[in-house]
Symmetry: D3
Subunit: 288 residues, 6 copies
Amino acid sequence: MRPELLEPPSGDVRDAVERALREDLTPLGDLTAALLPAGATATARFVSRANGRLAGVACATETFAQVDPAVEVSWFCADGAVLEPGTVIGEVSGALASVLVAERTALNFLGHLSGIASRVAQFVERAAGGARIWDTRKTTPGLRSLEKAAVRAGGGHNHRGNLSDWIMLKDNHLTGMSIAEAVAAARDRWPARTVQVECDHSEQLVEAIDCGADLVLLDNMTPDEIRHCVAVAAAAEAAGKGRPLLEASGGITIDTVAEFAATGVDLLSSGALTNSAPVLDIGLDIGA
Amino acid sequence: MRPELLEPPSGDVRDAVERALREDLTPLGDLTAALLPAGATATARFVSRANGRLAGVACATETFAQVDPAVEVSWFCADGAVLEPGTVIGEVSGALASVLVAERTALNFLGHLSGIASRVAQFVERAAGGARIWDTRKTTPGLRSLEKAAVRAGGGHNHRGNLSDWIMLKDNHLTGMSIAEAVAAARDRWPARTVQVECDHSEQLVEAIDCGADLVLLDNMTPDEIRHCVAVAAAAEAAGKGRPLLEASGGITIDTVAEFAATGVDLLSSGALTNSAPVLDIGLDIGA
Amino acid sequence: MRPELLEPPSGDVRDAVERALREDLTPLGDLTAALLPAGATATARFVSRANGRLAGVACATETFAQVDPAVEVSWFCADGAVLEPGTVIGEVSGALASVLVAERTALNFLGHLSGIASRVAQFVERAAGGARIWDTRKTTPGLRSLEKAAVRAGGGHNHRGNLSDWIMLKDNHLTGMSIAEAVAAARDRWPARTVQVECDHSEQLVEAIDCGADLVLLDNMTPDEIRHCVAVAAAAEAAGKGRPLLEASGGITIDTVAEFAATGVDLLSSGALTNSAPVLDIGLDIGA
Amino acid sequence: MRPELLEPPSGDVRDAVERALREDLTPLGDLTAALLPAGATATARFVSRANGRLAGVACATETFAQVDPAVEVSWFCADGAVLEPGTVIGEVSGALASVLVAERTALNFLGHLSGIASRVAQFVERAAGGARIWDTRKTTPGLRSLEKAAVRAGGGHNHRGNLSDWIMLKDNHLTGMSIAEAVAAARDRWPARTVQVECDHSEQLVEAIDCGADLVLLDNMTPDEIRHCVAVAAAAEAAGKGRPLLEASGGITIDTVAEFAATGVDLLSSGALTNSAPVLDIGLDIGA
Amino acid sequence: MRPELLEPPSGDVRDAVERALREDLTPLGDLTAALLPAGATATARFVSRANGRLAGVACATETFAQVDPAVEVSWFCADGAVLEPGTVIGEVSGALASVLVAERTALNFLGHLSGIASRVAQFVERAAGGARIWDTRKTTPGLRSLEKAAVRAGGGHNHRGNLSDWIMLKDNHLTGMSIAEAVAAARDRWPARTVQVECDHSEQLVEAIDCGADLVLLDNMTPDEIRHCVAVAAAAEAAGKGRPLLEASGGITIDTVAEFAATGVDLLSSGALTNSAPVLDIGLDIGA
Amino acid sequence: MRPELLEPPSGDVRDAVERALREDLTPLGDLTAALLPAGATATARFVSRANGRLAGVACATETFAQVDPAVEVSWFCADGAVLEPGTVIGEVSGALASVLVAERTALNFLGHLSGIASRVAQFVERAAGGARIWDTRKTTPGLRSLEKAAVRAGGGHNHRGNLSDWIMLKDNHLTGMSIAEAVAAARDRWPARTVQVECDHSEQLVEAIDCGADLVLLDNMTPDEIRHCVAVAAAAEAAGKGRPLLEASGGITIDTVAEFAATGVDLLSSGALTNSAPVLDIGLDIGA
């Protein structure tokens, strides 16, 4: 997998690191580092303490660059790398004070983003190629682009980046409009955009297929219901109609993802990938 | 518990909400909301779907204010409130388009911060008054002050806000200096500041007590080791020495917190409270 | 047409107005307004001096709000309104100094954005429903979302908001890959996203249709070539293949748009709509 | 002409480029560039497609620096250079993905600013040394300093940078004050600042000369009226009075500028130079 | 004196207050205010403890508005008001916690800016109308526009706002150019701008007058030398040449300002007005 | 003394320099530098004109870096260095225009911050080791972290960085609570934080000692009163109670500091150190 694909926009990285360092250092700086002997240097290694998937390397690099450009940073792994307990991820070398000032911020980025990548990778593995794993807009406020990049690092894919990306018609949008009318309005207003329809039951799916939706969200359905919907869509396709992509959401957990993936649905989405992934335990081992 | 205590600085709330809305709406705004009939309005209720503790009300309020100041927002619960499935937290009323644009951002804040408050509250309950629950600097980058406020909403307490708060002497700071020398240097440089020493075993604790540390971190000790340290500190106090506050860290989980709390240690800290708490499930039920 | 559809995200409006006022007032404020007699007030009317289409009302409102919240602002027209010489667009009333300080900034927004809306409206009128008018990413740096909203106010539609919106495969992306391989890679990486292919001749169009592209850019073709492509696409559709939307770009001007629109192509795009539209002449008539 | 004179403040360049890249890449980055083969590189040349004058080089350089500092950028022309169809302006070399990500933003800056410089250069050429070409405060919101630098690149001059620069007394400032009283108040409040008076007819000019205005705006006058004013000013000078600089504004177009310039007026200003200049067509030719 | 004249741009006020509150509250807010009883309110009065001149009212108002819009703020004095020990300047009323959080920030603005206004007022009084008191660019970094407004509040006047305002030719600019050449170049490049020349002795003054400089800085001259320069300028004027404004700088203190003002020079400038003025002692008396 | 201890967080330095350059250059840049001959270069030296203590080197370095990274900057002194008239502090070498553009901003930082360091150093010298010199929160708005670093450069120490640092109980916090209750509440809410109590007379000191305050502010007491308080604290300590650190504030000036320092009090604080220190006279001598 190519690193370029996995990285968030560099401007977002810079901004996020600036905010993180400011909140950790204002107003007096690192009181404890100020006690260190002048000229003390250190070499330190980022080491994984757990199994998982790496993400956040650009943020960690930027953290050291902003704290002290003289610190040398080298990475032995890239975003997306498989980690085991003991995997040495990278190495930094420079003034001990600079290393200590940057340590927690760099680790907070690596841990948070690798936590997301790792959980995504677990889902991907369990889905076993039966369906793709998709994120949602349920991200940590202010970290959308970084977390979406971490999802890619974990082998997952990105759903809508935001409300400006494509049209998603839910119940509340359909007040006084049929699905067909709403899809037509969307096509009219926003040519060439993906139009998605949320369906609670297979009758709505039929309606969505008939009006040519590109993508249908099967919301909170059981695997059996989803299998039924997959069959409905296949029948429609056989009848010469377009077949929308089918996304299932609701109840997708690490325990259920394999069963859902086996239904024939195209995409499985879960907010928990980004808003409930525990941190991946990565440490910084500091030597003399 | 008083709401004023629980809220983060209002400037941080404003900035965080601005970033969150920008990342969800740039560059074209909400494509789907643009299809709604003109003049459509809605009343919607924030409802908890789970047991937990509320946090993030200020962020949710600010989200609606930034999207559309004409939306009326009223809250039936404040930060720190106990939530059950079905608890109605608050109500918003205004243009349907505005409600839908703000919905996900407001929920992302409420879910993330209430998730932290809820996990903290579980730890506090299990600790049963035997020790206080403390957060760490292991927070989500850019959300430090909001997450620390959520910890307070959950009944926990705040450790160092950042590196500028107090002195914490770890292994890496003690290169070429004894604990006593380092504490003396800290007192000399930073009068009246809390000085904390990290100890791996009780011999270091004795050293820290002898040089008058205010606070000692007992790092990665078992409950038995901690109990021994508590006894060591008590003996020192009986001998007329000052007794530092004792913090235990490492291995504190929802399953072990009660046992650790029963050791007599003063404070139990865990990075997982802020960096690994799953979101609390809160929804917005939208009516006509 | 509904105003909600036409407005840019309010955060972008606030930021743009802040920048504009800062650059017009730093560091000493309005030297001339400082000479006005204390207590002088004024009522002033925004009046169109030309035929056109209105855009930028939210920016003008925000300008007065930031300069002096006590200035009363009322609008008789909304974004998208047809303007003629003499059309009274809105009225402001308050301290004369505040009105004069805000005047140029408000007019710069109204003039620039209405200029875009007006040019778009001319294209739309000439196209006469034969094809939709689409903008591009050729916008003024920093004003993307405001200019895209102005395009909507003029009756046009929005192409990609930015590089993050959908996939657009041009020559330079196809190094070492066939169109079919590139489209397949795009579908694989970015499920449910619009995939667009740029074609220089109809052979490429056939290739793009065969691999199921959603949208094809017919680049720099003559009306005759476009007509041929429209026929090719129709034939493919008749043969049971999907028919992509067809966009023509290159050489679309106010003089040629009608001819291009009559070719049967779906969408006509032109960078000149946003990067070369002259300002619409709108003035502020200030009374006592 | 020296490049240093032509460039805008570097802080403004950095900010403008940051905003432009953010709006083009948020939140997911360049979806299409992510499909490129790893390690692909390119050399590309900025080439003019039209006759004109170059501006915006600092912005283009900064765009590549922010996207990828490893891209090598070299320029064969500086701001102010005369361009013809085919003129190779500069060359960039580096990762193909980086070049494609930066391309549109760099071109948007170059095209917009060179468009302004080119129109200014046309006016300057037609004026043939008979009067100087002056810009106004009618600039694109947020781009004032960049556009004013582009005016200099085109051989024009800068009028007031903003409201804080000098005093300009218009009708609305003269409520209840004579010109003489207003000029005296301005001299009193703001010593050593340029004081300008707007005049609609030559009687006002006499009044402005008598009270020692530094600069007079002859507003919306015909060439004949302006010639009369020039004579009035000359007569006053011959009579030992100071002669203000005379600026004409209103109706100055590429077709009329020569006639206005021949009247003997000192300065000709036009908002259209900055707010209505079409983009200059510059492309990026990408090689392997 | 009119308040409108004295106030800095409102955008600068907002930004400065945001920064000041952030640096005083990040990351945990006011730890002590969090201990106050819920519902406690207070009324408090800003009272001068010294003789001086008021400045900074807009900043203090904005501070309370940002901390808590529910706090009521009313002012009995405006910027520029004469203060004595005991003068009640204004009153705030609202939640005690809000008042205490805002107190120091509001006082820091009022004290710093009133300190500048007060020192300026002393200089103005001593100058006794014999010369105007001018500030310089020697301001506190980041507070230029606020401090320049405070100078106006003290009865002083504003020299150049910044490097973009007018031309000031010093020794270092005259390498390889005569004064006459440099002034001519300035007139050529920047029509209608004030051109100032720094002179160390009266021969240079003659040269500056001969080439028509608008303003001359007499640098580090004694009162006698200045008197000589005033005579030189008067003689030139009598001879029909233009007379530049004369500014004296260097050695102007509260003790010498009267003597310098009596020389006939037009303007006396001192960096100490803005960069060395002690704070004016203003307190906040808090009642129940 | 180690430089690392003295420097403010680098993010704060970057932000402060950006703001300072923007306010000095917007919107047209340095009009005068634009007249310099192309290719002119200069070497210039920062030279002290007075006795004092250096601070602000990081800000000056950053100023040149932002204006023109090609300017070479080298320092012969670090923050905290003792300066005499004629001390050469550092040297810059590069384009003359760049040196002149950066000059005033760099000097404003150096002068302001060195002014603070110099005054602090005077206090430290007079205190002669008898008490430490402490700053306050009475800093220039927006420059807190830079000024606190300057205090360290002068040999002083930092009191609370901000309201989030530790608890300080003043009169207004004690409404309806005794000192003992308030201290207990503070210990309860904010474990391990410094708790400070403000006392107006020695009875309050006794109360503060009895409840275990860490730090007591003796507010506006005479040296005799302070001596009495020192004795009270010593007696308490002899009686086996903890002895808080004693801070005296109010009336501490360069003339009185020695007398106050001789009382046996631990810390002497004065707002005047940061909000009323005159600038230190440092110049930039520019050679060819």
